[in-house]
Every structure is written in C-alpha cells, then in structure tokens.
C-alpha cells in the first residue's frame, strides 16, 4: 500500500511544472521561517538574565540563530535538544566562555540584571565570578580538595583570613553535599575522588565564588545513576539560592529538576514553556517528535 502511494507521489513530482515547483519551495521557505519563531513563553516576569536576538557563528557556520529567551530568578531552566543543536554553545554565551574559542563570534544582547555582558566595557573576569559554570566532564584541578574549593575565593580576594577561607570551603562543600564524605581528607588530591564526588567538588568550587547564576553543561553525563541522583537532589536544593541553567541530554532529568524547559533544534530555539506543559502537551511538532523519541 505504502509503495503504491510512493509511486503516485513520484508521478506527481514528474508532471509538476517548474513554476509550480518554485511556488512550493517558496512556501516551504516561509514555513521554515515561521517555524523558526519560538513557540511558547520565552519571557518571564522576573528575569535574571535576558537574551535578545542572540546569534553565534563559528567561522562561517551559523550555530545559533536569533535566540531570545529570559532566565527567571531562582528557577532551573533546562535546555534540551538533539546533539549539535547549539544548546551548549548558547549556554557558554551566558558567561562568555565562548571568548576562549577561536573563530567564535556572538551578536545580539545578553543582560545579567541590568548589565549587557557583551558590552565592550564589560570585563569577563568578574562576570564569570557572577555566572559560574560546571562542565560536562568533572575537571577538578590537580590540587587538594581544599585548594580546589579555595581557588575561587583566593583569586577574587573574598577572604581576609585563613579561618574565613576555611569557613567558605566548609560551607561550599556542605552546600554541595560533599562535606561528610571528604571532611577528614581535605588535603587529599581532588582527582582521587570518584566521578560523582568530583562533579560535586566542581559544583562546590563554583558555589565558593558566590555566583548568582550557575551554568551546568550536561553535569551528569559522565556519572552513574546513583551519583546522578545525588547531583539532581543538589540542583533542586541550590535552586533556593541560585538561578540555574542546565543543558541535558536526559529528558527525564530535565523533567525532574527544571521548572522551565527550552527545546533547541539545529541552532533554533523552537519552544519554551513550563516543564510540565512541554512534556505533557508540546505545541510544536519538532518538540513533540523529540520528546516522544522519534529522533535525537
């Protein structure tokens, strides 16, 4: 039956006139543009970060196209999408980590509260202290656990005395849920911890700088299920004090930890909405196809 239908379609293609074909192509382009308009509610009442018309180019490649979205206060925003859709690239725009990538160019505006972070006058160093980052693969420094957490406070001059530094390290490790496991071996190298512990150490390291926003780039992709559960619990707790943007490949994880979800597809922000709605009632066809597992 399907084969017969295909043949019919083929025959119709053959007899189609050239101008007719052009008309169809033009319609397809229009649809494409329409589809690129973000569906759902990308903007919120109380934004912490505001992104407008953000475009990212890697050399000639247009990696992010016209993305506009807000990140609300004390919320967890999950960014999902198939591999190579640009969600990590977009995340790295939020604290200008893309500056270190050769050939990367960003246009558009991103505000942290009232500060346009791509303004020429902005210094990236304090910005990155305000917008911390946790990476896909745990990357503790080859130093002791204590020095790993103390690294940020030391370089930013946040402490005056040794005891103050110890307090920050202790409270950061406690917030990251790692204190009980490492309190008796703070002088051991951070690289000697297990993968899940290393990732929590990296989170503690980021917290120690007292950021306002924490960016997490697939923080659990290198972890086993139990370590993942620990880190997810931690994210839920951290939400009380910080704004968190998390990129994840794991849709269940997005559903578990986030309040809002953004779906990226080939550099476009396709749909944004409350996590409950996105996963129960997606409006865009691409979102539905992705979350129902038709691709990605």
């Amino acid at each position: 039956m399907a084969a017969v239908l295909d043949t019919v379609v083929d025959m119709r293609d053959v007899v189609m006139e050239k101008n007719e074909a052009d008309a169809v192509a033009a319609k397809a382009r229009k649809v494409d543009r329409d589809e690129r308009r973000t569906v759902g509610l990308p903007f919120v009442e109380e934004p912490r970060m505001i992104c407008r018309e953000v475009n990212v180019y890697y050399g000639d490649k247009h990696a992010i196209r016209n993305v506009s979205i807000d990140v609300g206060k004390n919320e967890v925003l999950a960014m999902i999408g198939p591999s190579g859709c640009g969600k990590s690239t977009f995340l790295r725009c939020l604290n200008r980590m893309n500056d270190t990538v050769a050939g990367c160019r960003v246009t558009g505006e991103i505000f942290l509260d009232d500060l346009n972070i791509y303004d020429r006058k902005v210094d990236v160093v304090p910005l990155r202290a305000q917008v911390g980052m946790v990476f896909q693969k745990p990357n503790p420094f080859p130093k002791s656990i204590f020095d790993n957490v103390a690294y940020g406070p030391k370089i930013h001059g946040l402490v005056n005395s040794k005891s103050e530094l110890q307090d920050i390290v202790e409270s950061s490790l406690k917030k990251a849920g790692l204190w009980n496991e490492v309190s008796d071996r703070l002088d051991q190298p951070g690289t000697g911890l297990s993968g899940g512990q290393q990732q929590r150490l990296c989170i503690a390291r980021a917290i120690a700088v007292r950021p306002e926003v924490i960016l997490m780039d697939e923080p659990c992709s290198a972890l086993d299920p139990i370590a993942t559960a620990t880190v997810e619990d931690l994210i839920t707790e951290l939400k009380e004090q910080y704004t968190i943007v998390i990129v994840t490949h794991n849709m269940q994880q997005a559903a578990r930890v986030s309040q809002r979800t953004a779906y990226f597809h080939l550099g476009d922000l396709v749909e944004v909405g409350s996590t409950d709605r996105i996963f129960t009632n997606p409006r865009h066809q691409l979102t539905e196809d992705y979350i129902t597992g038709r691709f990605g």
Partner: protein
C-alpha cells in the same frame, strides 16, 4: 702503550670469507620459507588434514627462521672465538723459542705475525720463526673457514628439515614465530642498557687505576688542578696535583650562568608560545627557536670567542672591571642561548598537553589568564618542565666546545664569572689529546673526571625525580 694489547681480528683476513657464507645462509633461509609455505598450502588443500592452526605464511617464516638463525649464530660466535684461538695455536712455542717471557714483548711478536698475515710492511727484518707462525696461521685459518662453512650450512639444512618434517595442521607456527620475534625485540631493547653498563664499567676500571696512584680524598677535595707531570725521572717538570674542585667549580659556574639565561628565557617563551601567541606566530617561531638547537656547538664557540668575550672585556674596560679575555661569563651566556630551545620547546609541549578542561574550569571561576597559568597550568605541567630543565642542565654540564673556545683552560678556583675557568669536559679533552701513556695519572685522571661527571649528573637526575614526585599535580 701498555694497554694497546687488544687483539684485533684482521678485517681482511677472516671477515671477507664470511660474507658469501652469510649470503648463502640467507638464500637458503628464503628457500626454506618458500618450501615451508608451499608445504603448508599443500596440507591446507588436503581435505583429510583438517584446519591449519596458522596461516601458511607463518609456517614459511618458522622454517626460514630455523634455517637462518642457528646458522647465523654459529657464524657470529665462530668469528669471535676463532681468531684468538688460531693466534694461540700459530704462536705456540714461538715465544718460548725466542726466550721471551714479558707479556708486552709477546704482544709485539703477535703483532709482527699479524702484520705478516695481513701483508703489511714490517718494520724490521722478518724473523723465520715469525714467518713460520704466520704461515701456520694462514693454514689454520683456511681450515677454520672451511669448517665454519660446513657447520653453518649443516645447521641451516638440518634446521629447515626439522621444521619441514614437523609441519602439520596442529603445529602452532604463529605462536612460535611471535615468540621468536618477541625475543628479538627484547634483545634490541636491552642492547642500549648493556652498552651503557659497558661504558660505565670501562670508565670505572680506568678510574680505579687512577685512584690506586692518587688518593680519592686528594682528588675529591684537592684545591689545585695541575695535571702536568714529569714522564721520566730525569725530566724537569711539576709533580702534578689532581684536585678536582677547581674544575668542578668551573663546570658549575658556567652551567649556572647558562641556566640563569636559559630557564627564564626558555620558560617565558614557552608560556608565551603556548598560551598567548596566535597559531600562525607559534607555527613560525617555534621551528625557528628549534633551529637554535641545531646550530653546531663549534659555531657557538666562534660566536662566544670572537663576539661575546671581546664585548664583555670591552664593557669591563669601560666600567673599570678587570675582565679576562676568556671568561666564564662569555661561555655561560652563549651556552645559555644554545640551550634555550631545549627548555622552551619541551616546556611548550608539556604546557600544551595540559587539558583544555582545566583551563576552562579556571576561567569559568573568573580567573584571569595569568592566574590560570600560575596556579593551574604550570603546577600541572611541572614534571615536564623540570624534565626539560634537567635535559638542559645535562647539556650544559656536558658541553665542551664553547668552553674550550671561550672560557680557557686555566683551572682557577674562583666564583668570579669575569675570570677564565675550565670545566671537567674541557680537561678530559686536553688530557686525552696527543700522546698518552696509560700508566700515568695524567691520562688516567681523564677517566676519574669522567666518572665524577657521571656521578654528578646521576645525582642531579635522582634529585629531580624526587622533586617531581613530591610536587607533581597529576591530572587524569
């Protein structure tokens, strides 16, 4: 020349005859390879024989190996053992007949015989006894060569036959071939180690002879280096003194100046090249820097002696400082320039090997570039950096040419870089240039100095290893 007793096999006499023999063995062994492979193929085609354990080529290689290897080993061992044996047989009774007992004089007789055999011009009239011995030697050699050929070819044929007869599907030819290859690889890898041991032992034995004449304490703690000695009792000359301290001080002084130049320049340029420079700049400058390492040290020597040393002297004259025309400073400066690429190139490689994720982690915490380099990258790259510095130090300590040309030969005990000094390597060269006699401490002192140098560099290596282990920050 007491030590020149080495019985050298005359190259034209014995080794020429083995070349065709080795060729023949190799031809036989390729024939054996072909036969073995053919036999394996034939077996594989026979349906009743079952499946071959290895591919047919392995059966061929196994046959070839068993044909060639034993024969070649026989040739090698025979060649090494035959010459001394033949000489002894040929010279049997000659020394006694001539009434010679002194081993030195016996050696002279042997050399005469050898020269006759090789057809060289003999200094004096030919002794009939020696002539007879030489004839005897040639006869024995002919027999020996014939016997060798027979033995080697028999071994080749027997070896090939034994394997050919054993080829059947169950023979695990691949495993055996791989085992032989593994043994060959092991031998190759230990070769360098044995050579090193040999070098150390040869230096050690000569040093021991030196220390039999000069007390160890005088050598290690003596403050005066003046190796000139009267050779004969009636000759006028100094009695010689062998205190190594001035020479060692010179080495450390010059190496220290060199490292004071090379480490900062090399390390800074490595940091710039790996962390700051653009890719095109790096691709241009790094090879150019490495060219510095390729300049022959003699050329650096010219530069030091003709440009740098006079410049320093003139500068000294301007400022009123007394500068010798050959100074430790000139040699050290030029040597430092010479070893910059060792530090920079290797350090650049290890800094680049630090994972990008560590940099990202540091930048992500709001660290500046210089904080990231100082606090994360350099500690992580420390073992490699220490390694590169160590390599540079051993180059500096071992360097001879620049020092000969720019620092002079005077063994002054001084820490003043503006004076002429000498180094261990330079003294070794001057002691061993020209005629020597191996029973004089003057010549043997060279080996003692070599031993001292070896011990010093070894100690430096051990210290560096300890430092690296203690302070290394291991990533991954």
């Amino acid at each position: 020349m007491q030590r020149n007793e080495a019985i050298r096999p005359s190259i034209d006499g014995t080794h020429m005859s083995s070349a065709p023999l080795i060729t023949l063995v190799l031809i036989l062994s390729s024939l054996a390879y072909w036969l073995g492979r053919r036999r394996a193929f034939a077996l594989a085609r026979r349906p009743s024989a079952g499946k071959l354990h290895s591919r047919p080529g392995y059966y061929g290689v196994l046959t070839g190996l068993w044909c060639g290897l034993p024969a070649l080993v026989i040739v090698a061992v025979w060649q090494m053992a035959a010459d001394p044996l033949l000489t002894r047989m040929a010279m049997d009774g000659v020394a006694a007949a001539k009434g010679v007992v002194n081993p030195d004089q016996i050696n002279l007789l042997v050399n005469d015989m050898r020269n006759l055999v090789a057809g060289n011009v003999v200094a004096h009239e030919v002794d009939p006894l020696i002539q007879a011995a030489a004839d005897r030697y040639l006869g024995l050699q002919r027999i020996s060569n014939l016997a060798l050929a027979t033995a080697a070819l028999t071994a080749a044929l027997v070896g090939a036959y034994l394997i050919l007869a054993r080829i059947r599907p169950a023979l695990r030819a691949r495993n055996q071939v791989e085992r032989v290859i593994e043994i060959i690889l092991t031998l190759c890898s230990t070769f360098a180690v044995f050579i090193t041991i040999g070098i150390v032992l040869s230096v050690l034995f000569e040093s021991i002879r030196f220390f039999q004449q000069i007390p160890l304490a005088d050598f290690l703690f003596g403050l005066k280096w003046s190796p000139q000695m009267a050779i004969r009792a009636d000759q006028a000359g100094s009695s010689g003194s062998f205190g190594a301290i001035p020479v060692l001080t010179g080495t450390f002084l010059i190496s220290g100046i060199a490292m004071a130049i090379a480490v900062p320049f090399g390390l800074m340029s490595a940091i710039y090249l790996s962390e700051y420079a653009g890719s095109t700049f790096r691709a241009t400058v790094k090879p150019l820097l490495e060219i510095l390492a390729g300049v022959p040290t003699v050329v650096y020597g010219f530069f030091a002696a003709l440009v740098v040393a006079p410049a320093i002297r003139d500068l000294g004259a301007l400022t009123g400082l007394p500068v010798a025309s050959e100074s430790a400073l000139a040699a050290g400066l030029v040597m430092g320039i010479m070893i910059i690429p060792f530090v920079s190139s290797l350090s650049d490689d290890v800094i680049n090997a630090v994972p990008q994720s560590l940099r990202d982690g540091s930048y992500g915490l709001g660290a500046t570039k210089s904080e990231t380099i100082k606090l994360v990258i350099l500690p992580a790259a420390l073992p490699g950096i220490v390694g590169s510095i160590l390599l540079a130090v051993s180059r500096a300590i071992g360097e001879t040419m620049i020092v000969v040309m720019a620092a002079g030969l005077a063994a002054n005990l001084t820490f003043n870089p503006l004076q002429a000094v000498t180094t261990v390597t330079v003294q070794i060269v001057t002691l061993l240039v020209g005629d020597q006699e191996f029973d004089s401490p003057k010549t043997l002192a060279a080996f003692a100095l070599g031993m001292l140098l070896f011990v010093v560099t070894l100690a430096l290596n051990v210290i560096a290893l300890y430092v690296v282990r203690k302070y290394r920050e291991e990533y991954e």
